[in-house]
């Protein structure tokens, strides 16, 4: 479904991503793990067109999306939940969710998806009229995921959904991510918490200094001595 070939991302002269190639199949959850600064977020940003790729290509459902306008990515069916959540702080929870459905005009189905999001995250329903800036970090992450789902995407890109959250909140968020995946959603997940990411995904890629150094089934990576030593603290 998503094909990334030879993707490069550079900031000025510095290569953050050096020609990486990977893919995500339809209905699959794939983890991209690696240390801080390995180039994971840059990869996601280049796919979502927040950053320009310095080279290489991104295809989605057979269509080349490497150079489309940033605001058209979501129209292709790709929704990014950005690092640090990126909720609109002075918009209410309800308005943030409405922004997720900005590109849609099927009011009836939007209402259905809103019910679905509130089903996943009852807390958001309780705080519907509150400004998003007043929510806790975990609630903001719920909102960011809920907002992405409101676009009824074909694929979700999740950038560090566990970052800065209490363990109990991480549990809750990942329960929902698993539930969404179980509905058949295609997901590309970036995580520093490699164990959690690999336990949740079917396949994984390991990134180091801008390159993919290892890939395979998530279970195999979990048992790989190199991965265990580098990312699982063993």
């Amino acid at each position: 479904m998503l094909e990334v070939t030879g993707l490069r991302v550079a900031y000025g002269g510095i290569q953050a991503v050096r020609s990486i190639t990977f893919h995500v199949n339809e209905g699959e959850m794939v983890a991209l793990i690696g240390a801080n600064g390995a180039g994971k977020t840059s990869t996601l940003k280049a796919i979502a067109r927040v950053l320009d790729a310095a080279g290489g290509d991104v295809h989605f459902c057979g269509e080349k999306i490497t150079r489309i306008a940033p605001h058209d990515v979501i129209r292709q069916g790709i929704a990014l939940v950005p690092e640090g959540r990126g909720v609109f702080p002075r918009l209410t929870v309800a308005e943030n969710l409405a922004m997720g459905a900005f590109v849609r005009n099927d009011a009836v189905d939007i209402e259905k998806d809103l019910k679905m999001v509130f089903g996943y995250f009852p807390r958001l329903k309780e705080r519907e009229a509150q400004l998003a800036g007043t929510l806790s970090g975990g609630e903001q992450q719920m909102l960011a995921i809920g907002r992405a789902l409101m676009s009824r995407p074909r694929m979700l890109l999740l950038d560090e959904p566990s970052m800065g959250l209490a363990p109990i909140m991480v549990q809750k968020i990942f329960e929902v991510i698993r539930a969404v995946a179980a509905q058949g959603m295609t997901i590309l997940l970036i995580e520093q918490n490699a164990k959690l990411a690999l336990e949740t995904s079917q396949r994984g890629y390991v990134m180091e200094s801008g390159e993919i150094t290892l890939h395979g089934a998530a279970g195999d990576l979990l048992n790989d001595p190199k991965v265990r030593a580098a990312y699982l603290g063993e």
Partner: protein, 307 residues
Amino acid sequence: MDIFLQQIINGLVQGSIYALVALGYTMVYGIMGLINFAHGEVVMIGTLVAISVAGTLIKAGVPVALAGVNGLAAAVLVCMALGWGLERIAYRPLRNAPRLTPLITAIGMSIVLQNVAMIVWGRNYLTFPHLLPKVNFEFAGAHFTAIQVMIVGVSGLTMAGLVFLVYRTRLGMAMRATAQNPQVASLMGVNSNRVISAAFVIGSALGALAGVMVGTYYEIAHYQMGFMLGLKAFTAAVLGGIGNLAGAMAGGILLGIIEALGAGYIGDLTGGFFGSHYQDIFAFIVLIVVLMFKPSGLFGEKTGDRA
């Protein structure tokens, strides 16, 4: 006491005009962090276009009211196009330039527009046609005219319409989202270029309306009139907290009232040494005081070091 009430009324009228112009500054600043110093000139062009169109129609025998409506419509349309064009030609190419660059460009555009207006309309003062009959009202010893009532009323309705647009429509939500986080708004499918254009176009339409009101009120116009008006409206926007809609409205009205009261009492307070023609100093005292003690303004949420 009746001087006090009289000056409050005068200040409210002048303040409504400042508020409309201030909204143009604040909308653009809120979305892209740019102070569009050419906005005062957009207002001036609005006034002059209205003079030309309404004046020509009146000479051709068209009823005054109809000529006035046409003059206003022409001013609004020309200014909307002007605001859109300014952004496209002058500011969009500089979107990723250092912040000082578009600011200097804005001052440059202001000079260009003044000179274009001077070439088109000449260097002399122009008289604005009488669009409304001179009807006077009296309330508790204070006098006011139909024109003043119209200015306050139309400004109030227009501002209510703007609040509706920004807080109750899809475009308004996209504008607020873009102001808060342009990158994420773009991820949601918002075309930031369109939102920025909309801010310029709407701000310019409000400016045109203000320009026509100024013309109707003072019955005089000049190619340099946009400078002082723009500077005062900018002061009003800063007073309210630039980037904040409610702030621009409150700041405009407050500044109008401060100025009117200042002009009303300066003679008494200085024993006649300064007359009411010194009223312009009050706006700038306000600007200096706000920048020194509360640079985020009355409603401002945060202060940055943005130019």
